[in-house]
């Protein structure tokens, strides 16, 4: 499994982490290219269904990142998001989905180096976990079920 390159989807907020990722680039810091960044207005906008849908579309790992507490552009979006993640994390764990595949982080616009570190550590961790086989099996099973229904 050494040549396995995980697909990572990153949901980031426009005001902090996206700008932070920008800084990583302008600072010429290298980081893993496995990550696909999706920009959102705020972490409070990141619905848990988006996370499930990215797994359903073949992601092996997910990063969710936004402003540090008290730094939210909309005052409290990240606090609301935090509550949602606490619940989502517990529920996913209860349903047997490995939460090591999802990284939650606060990365500010000044933390270009931290963003590289978050991405690299996530890629490394998901690489060690391997492809999300159990979920992919479920996707394949669903496709078969659909075909057999037709």
């Amino acid at each position: 499994m050494s040549d396995f390159e995980p697909k990572i989807v990153a949901f980031v907020c426009n005001w902090c982490t996206y700008a932070g990722a920008d800084l990583t680039g302008t600072s010429r810091i290298k980081y893993a290219s496995n990550v696909k960044i999706i920009r959102f207005p705020c972490t409070g906008r990141i619905d848990f269904m988006l996370l499930l849908k990215s797994f359903a579309n073949g992601a092996d790992g997910i990063i969710v990142s936004g402003c540090h507490p008290n730094d939210c552009h909309y005052t409290s979006g990240n606090f609301h998001a935090k509550r949602r993640w606490i619940m989502f994390k517990e529920l996913m764990d209860f349903m047997g989905i490995d939460m090591n595949r999802i990284t939650f982080s606060w990365v500010s616009a000044a933390e270009g180096a931290k963003w590289a570190e978050v991405v690299n550590s996530t890629v490394l961790r998901v690489k060690n976990l391997g492809p999300f086989v159990s979920y992919k099996q479920m996707i394949n099973k669903s496709i078969e079920e659909e075909v057999s229904n037709e």
Binding site: M49, I86, M95, G96, M138, K141
Partner: protein
Amino acid sequence: MSNIITKAKELLSNKTVKLVIGYQSGTDDVRPAFITNPDKTDLLIYNDKCLHNLSVYLTKNEVKILGKIAIFATHPVMRSILQLASEKQVFQENVIVIGIDNNGETLDFADFKVMQNYIEKSNLSNPEKDQKIIDELNKLSLEEKFKFWENELSKCIKCYACRQTCPMCYCTRCTTECNQPQWIPVQSNSLGNMEWHVLRAMHLAGRCVSCGECGRACPVDIPCHLLTMFLSEQVNKHFNVFAGTSDNMKSVMSTFEPNDKENFII
């Protein structure tokens, strides 16, 4: 039981209420009863099979247009009514709650505040038999838990009985009916079924009163009530809140405390 009939008869004949919601015997079990005529109150019964969460009818238009309603409420039903009142779906002036305690005796509540005092003193955690299964599941490994739920949820036929029977699922337009984007596939398949049950549990986080009605309503016996009950337990663990304990509760998922736990966020 005679007490229930007398109460209903009194409320209907002195025109305090237009409708009494209670239980009556069905073909082989009990079923909800909607009584508008004081002479028909003899139909009302109460026994240990009366488990339906009747508060689900309080938010239905067909029932609301009748006028003031009296409802027989067991412990979880009282909690549902308080939760619905917090969410501004049920109003004090439109409903008379006749409580039924664990021994089947009726309780009179002058208003929601009195009911709230009764609820606050009662046991609010999940029913013991369900909590036991949750604890058993928590002991399993991730793979075993995934297998268990994949197996259970693959039975789902997307009838949405769990949604229809839940008093908190009163949205006139549910996410499942939206198709731009289509979050939940219309047809039943393993992946879509899981997504539906995650979505349902998440939307009920902090609102579920652990009545277990969704699991009882499921025609294919998926223990979907365990998901919402698990989240009720977690909400209490993390935010120290029990749903349905007051008629002006703050919504758990749309409020926050700055010091919410965050040791999993790097």
